[in-house]
């Protein structure tokens, strides 16, 4: 019985891990009513990064990309939303990334999409702090900047990790039985 459960679990895990999904950041659509940033660091300098100036706030942006990610994956469940402290943007996006929030959308054991927002204003237009200014970019004036970074992984890597997990479970069971 345990053997059958283990084999079923292994096969399901492999299917889940190898299920095709987005391969790069360009697979994710731009934010609605936004202007794509052409600033250095937002285009080709850092892989799989794109940024948008818009008047969309966190309440709209994160669910928008969560839905998009789920649709791209064709999974019946949404990605996990992990809320990180803003300073994590320097690690997950790139150094010197301004941030007022950063959330990670992830399917465990697969890839992650980081959604970083810099919102100097509240959604009613009042400034959050001294020196809050609107973004004057691409001929427009915007309240927020959203930066995305996607971390894809190769199928071979996922197969190797899957093999590592399955072997670890098997060995844990064997050694555990001897010890306990």
């Amino acid at each position: 019985m345990i053997k059958k459960v283990f084999i079923l679990f292994s096969v399901l895990l492999l299917i889940y891990m190898l299920w095709p999904g987005p391969g790069q950041i360009s697979d994710f659509k731009a934010l609605p009513s936004s202007s794509k940033s052409k600033l250095e660091g937002d285009t080709i300098q850092i892989p799989n990064v794109s940024a948008y100036f818009s008047d969309n706030f966190r309440k709209f942006v994160v669910p928008y990309y969560a839905d998009l990610y789920q649709n791209k994956m064709n999974f019946p469940f949404p990605p996990l939303r992990l809320n990180h402290p803003p300073e994590y943007s320097w690690i997950a996006i790139k150094k010197h990334t301004d941030s007022t929030y950063i959330e990670e959308l992830t399917y465990p054991l697969r890839d992650s999409l980081y959604v970083n927002g810099y919102e100097p204003f509240y959604s009613d237009g009042s400034p959050k702090f001294w020196g809050s200014t609107k973004f004057e970019e691409n001929g427009g004036s915007w309240y927020t900047k959203t930066t995305l970074r996607y971390y894809p992984s190769a199928s071979l890597i996922r197969i190797l990790v899957w093999f590592g997990i399955i072997s670890s479970f098997y060995l844990l069971f064997r050694v555990g039985r001897k010890i306990i």
Binding site: P108, L109, S112, P127, W130, S153, V161, S168, I179, I180
Partner: protein
């Protein structure tokens, strides 16, 4: 070949003896730094590396490798290392949550600490060697305590690794109100070491002759005094649990009441430790204590931001409103609204809030991201202050289960030693098991299994106890 094996055995024993003395006593001077972290490679890592290399040669030459690989505990240790490799691979290439070289460094640190267990277990072969090690350990503990007193009263140098600047090997002195760390580079590490020591000393106290009881009592008393000077609440609680465990395991339960009264009396006596205990209850549990409200509207609004020191736009433009408190007053200059005004309460409050709001959630997020393997060694920063959450976050269910297997295997093996006829060995085993319990209690709020000195000594003590199993002259 036997002659070479004999020479190797003797050399390894002296190396092990050297490590038992050198690791606790040598200050944490960095030998060379690693880019991207302030965890440095130190000379003790080189000595441990050399000893482990020689031990590997010994295992091969003496044909003990096969026996080693058949042992259940060795298998659990090797499995833990294997899962560590898989987790690191996953962290580098799948979740992209670590820098490869830093993660490998942290993985190797775990290997370095744990490998000392089987090493000591196979190198210490006779009761005489065991007693020699105990004597040297006693003298080392005495030296650690005397150095702590020197730091407190004679202005002896302090080496600390509590921040990135100090960890460069700066020679410091204790400032008023600062807590001693002796040679352990952090007062919590020293407190954990002393809690381990006192628990073992209590167990040995009941096993030795009357003549030997006095030096043990003095050493235990001195260690306890220094432990009080560290004002480490958790180690104090861990010590109490450890001592109670010794009394239960050695069937000396009639002393439990005396110990409880003594510890209660110590807590009533005015000290920094008492103040911190009281603050823990009033501030962290009952949410009492006078809180700082902010001098201006600016500060009150600012405190609601992620970065409370960020300037906000209000009617006031005065530069004086940017500082939260005046440096001339009794209030900490970096205090923010909502925090306790009393400095002891503030320290206790922050110590808990850092865990509750930053470190523990970070580890839990890492666990959610990859429940099986975690997000890799070093992925959740330098500290989590809860070793079990850290393990789940860094290596997931698999790594944590493998680690638990090691602990269970060790516990079961040592428990068997209780059948030993030797009173010394029986009581020492009770002390080591209680030390293990105290260490785990410490692990609930401190990363003891990653604190290099105490972690190394912990595994070495377990190894020393396991060595008893194979004594030729038992």
């Amino acid at each position: 070949m036997q002659k070479i094996t004999g020479i190797l055995e003797k050399t390894l024993f002296y190396l092990v003896l050297f490590l038992f003395v050198f690791i606790p006593l040598y200050p944490k001077f960095p030998l060379f730094n690693v880019t991207g972290t302030f965890v440095a490679v130190r000379i003790e890592d080189i000595f441990i590396g050399l000893t482990v290399s020689l031990w590997a040669v010994y295992l091969v030459i003496s044909n003990q490798l096969r026996i080693f690989l058949k042992d259940k505990l060795s298998l659990a240790i090797l499995l833990f290392f294997f899962i560590g490799v898989v987790s690191t691979f996953s962290a580098v290439f799948l979740t992209h949550t670590v820098f490869a070289h830093i993660s490998i460094l942290h993985f190797l640190r775990r290997v370095e600490f744990i490998i000392l267990l089987p090493l000591i277990a196979t190198v210490v072969k006779t009761k005489k060697q065991f007693i020699i090690i105990l004597i040297f350990l006693g003298l080392t503990v005495l030296a650690v305590n005397l150095y702590a007193l020197g730091q407190q009263y004679l202005d002896w140098p302090v080496i600390s690794t509590t921040n990135s600047e100090f960890s460069k090997g700066l020679i410091l002195r204790l400032t008023p109100g600062a807590r001693v760390n002796s040679t352990f580079a952090g007062h919590y590490d020293l407190a954990v070491f002393l809690a381990m020591t006192i628990v073992i000393l209590v167990s040995l106290f009941f096993s030795v002759s009357k003549k030997m009881k006095i030096p043990l009592l003095l050493l235990g008393g001195l260690s306890f005094l220094v432990l009080m000077m560290t004002a480490a609440r958790l180690s104090f609680a861990a010590l109490l649990i450890g001592i109670l465990s010794v009394l239960v395991l050695t069937k000396k339960t009639k002393y439990i009441l005396i110990i409880l009264i003594f510890m209660a009396a110590v807590l009533i006596y005015p000290s920094q430790l008492r103040d911190r205990f009281i603050s823990t209850i009033t501030v962290n549990i009952f949410k009492q204590g006078q809180r700082y409200e902010g001098k201006t509207v600016d500060q009150q609004v600012r405190s609601k931001l992620n970065i409370p020191t960020l300037a906000i736009k209000t009617s006031s433009m005065s530069a004086s409103t940017s500082a939260f408190a005046s440096s001339s007053g009794n209030i900490a200059t970096d205090i923010t609204p909502g925090e306790p005004i009393n400095t002891t309460e503030l320290g206790v409050y922050r110590s808990f809030q850092i865990r509750l709001q930053i470190e523990w959630p970070r580890a839990i997020l890492a666990f959610f991201k990859n429940p099986f393997l975690g997000t890799g060694y070093s992925s959740i920063d330098i500290a989590t202050d809860n070793d079990f959450l850290r393990s789940l976050g860094e290596t997931g269910i698999l790594g944590t289960a493998a680690f638990a297997l090691i602990i269970i295997a060790v516990w079961k093996k040592i428990f068997n030693v209780f059948k030993s006829n030797s009173r010394l060995i029986r009581f020492f085993s009770a002390g080591v098991l209680s030390m293990l319990i105290a260490f785990i209690v410490n692990g609930l709020f401190i990363d003891v299994f990653e604190a290099s000195k105490v972690a190394s000594l912990f595994w070495m003590m377990l190894g020393l106890n396991l060595a008893v199993l194979s004594f030729k002259d038992k």
